[in-house]
Subunit: 335 residues, 2 copies
């Protein structure tokens, strides 16, 4: 099934959304919010599944689903921990800063605690106060977990995955080097991220969800031009089970935790960073990678970071060309 | 007024607690949880204040308040951002690792996003799976905020402080160096922290709350012996207004965010790290500092990190010797 939240209060109002995203049904009589559903998933999920079946059969009152009216499925969450599972991306971004990738990064996941007190709605603006901060998007896959016990292994972690979706992990590139040097992670350089309009259960995804990875082309458009077409199932060094187990090594994890894949990134056939979409490549899921490639080929970056009015679109289509999770579509606005 | 949460569900049940912590009154008819109260503070706080007045006058049904029955006032929160406002502490801990303190640390606050999906109850065990991780306590002051707009200045940030309390920020010292080297902050080296049994509004604290700092001796006992007696109002380089404004530079902050001071730490009169309580000094608010001083004086640390059965107590007394926020009292348990 697919779940989302209509705007309403700080935590939204839970809805079940039809597979084609055309229709939705109020689910607040089952659980008022998605967090409440996740808190009691074992009893709530079967009732939501029944509602989804009724919706598919048009057997209940239903409403048109408009992505522009959706809040983030979790407008706020108790945890947002973002990995860097596509180590290729980390290597490229480090190269752009003339920093070396430690060998350990290939077997010990990078992960940071992000701010989860507000996820931006899928069509909400990116509120940017200063273009000099170097605003970038990062298109990623996320999962939402149930409770995970301390010390959980990969299999236990995988079994705790409740929902899957997409995120635009907004990043302020020019603030990152100073925060990395402090070693304490990202406080100012990672403002609020935007979630996809809907999240889907693993069973909803069929073959696209396998081995703790989501397979499919993550489409990123910048100002209505194709920017990234990487496959999220390729070059993901650490699957979500491994990422969650990493986070749970020393403590339990609460239901409703949002875990990110890090920026999706594919190597080219020659092992290198490939080419922009405009040059026939798969492109990139963030501006920083494209700037890196421009630096390699031309000596300096060409593509600027985001400025007010710039527009980014992130989605993943199924085999029939329908956006599985809806579309994140944001315009940069002066904060 | 003083607020707390009795155990019940994932978010506890809101209570108002008498000034002397002897009595409490159910407040769930006003707001079911402390988070719900913070979400609508402007309308809810006056009603809670009225309840607190009735409780003080014994004009309503009241119950004995037992700290051992209290959950964390916020059993989970949407944000836990911990500063390092006592730069003295940072300098000492770095010295213990032979690392240099950058000069910028004196004017640019250090802060990390911590895990907020579960705060331990004030009398809950510290679940430790491996003593080799080097488990330590950190006694700190916290504040809980209302909504803070992006770009808020210090005065706006100070005005958004709703509640004040204490935290034991459990730290796994031997996991910290590797995570610091990654630059992404603390994921495995900072497991769940414990909050004090109650939180107090700023007006409740009188002169003890001034200039964005809490004045008073933060008493830390390890295995029933005095370990730390530092004054939280002394040597706090960055006040809470400055810490919150730092966090809000690039994004808004949601109601119910928990902001930490970092380990409370006082310099000695000679500017140095002082002496353990047993040697007539003010002692330390974490084991790591005492080990540092032992290393300086004797060439090697003597005090071991925590092991199963060790017992830590953290509190701050008012002028009459009563614990303002109750007592955090935890025993290390094998996870």
């Amino acid at each position: 099934m697919k779940l989302g939240s209509l705007t309403g209060g700080r935590d939204g109002r839970l809805i079940v959304v039809s597979r084609d995203l055309a229709w939705c049904a109020d689910a607040t009589h089952i659980a008022p919010t998605l967090q409440a559903a996740l808190d009691a998933w074992e009893t709530v999920a079967p009732r939501l599944e029944a509602l989804a079946t009724d919706l598919a059969h048009e057997a209940i009152p239903m409403m048109r689903f408009h992505e522009r009216q959706a809040d983030a499925p979790l407008p706020r969450a108790f945890q947002w921990a973002d990995g860097s599972a596509y180590v290729n991306h980390v290597e490229l971004v480090r190269k752009a800063r003339d920093a070396v990738l430690p060998e350990s990064f290939w077997h010990d996941p990078l992960m940071y605690q992000g701010a989860s007190d507000r996820f931006l709605p899928p069509r909400g603006p990116i509120p940017l106060a200063d273009e000099a901060w170097g605003c970038d998007f990062e298109a990623e896959v996320i999962v939402v977990t149930g409770d995970v016990p301390q010390g959980a292994d990969r299999a236990t972690a995988l079994a705790a995955i409740r929902l899957i979706g997409l995120v635009n992990d907004v990043s302020l590139r020019n603030l990152i080097p100073d925060e990395l040097a402090k070693g304490f992670g990202f406080v100012q350089s990672k403002p609020a991220s935007a979630l996809s309009p809907v999240l889907a259960t693993p069973d909803e995804l069929g073959d696209a969800w396998a081995d703790g990875r989501l397979r499919g082309i993550l489409s990123v458009d910048l100002n209505d031009r194709p920017f990234g077409r990487a496959d999220a199932g390729v070059d993901m060094t650490f699957d979500f089970g491994t990422l969650i187990a990493h986070l749970a090594k020393t403590r339990s994890i609460g239901a409703g935790s949002v875990i990110g894949s890090g920026t999706v990134s594919n190597r080219a056939a020659d092992g290198g960073p490939g080419r922009p979409v405009a040059d026939g490549g798969l492109g990139y899921s963030c501006i920083a990678e494209q700037r890196m490639v421009e630096t390699i080929s031309g000596g300096a970056p060409v593509t600027p970071f985001l400025k007010a009015g710039d527009h980014v679109r992130i989605r993943m289509d199924d085999a029939h060309g329908h956006a599985i999770f809806g579309t994140i579509e944001q315009t940069v606005a002066t904060a």
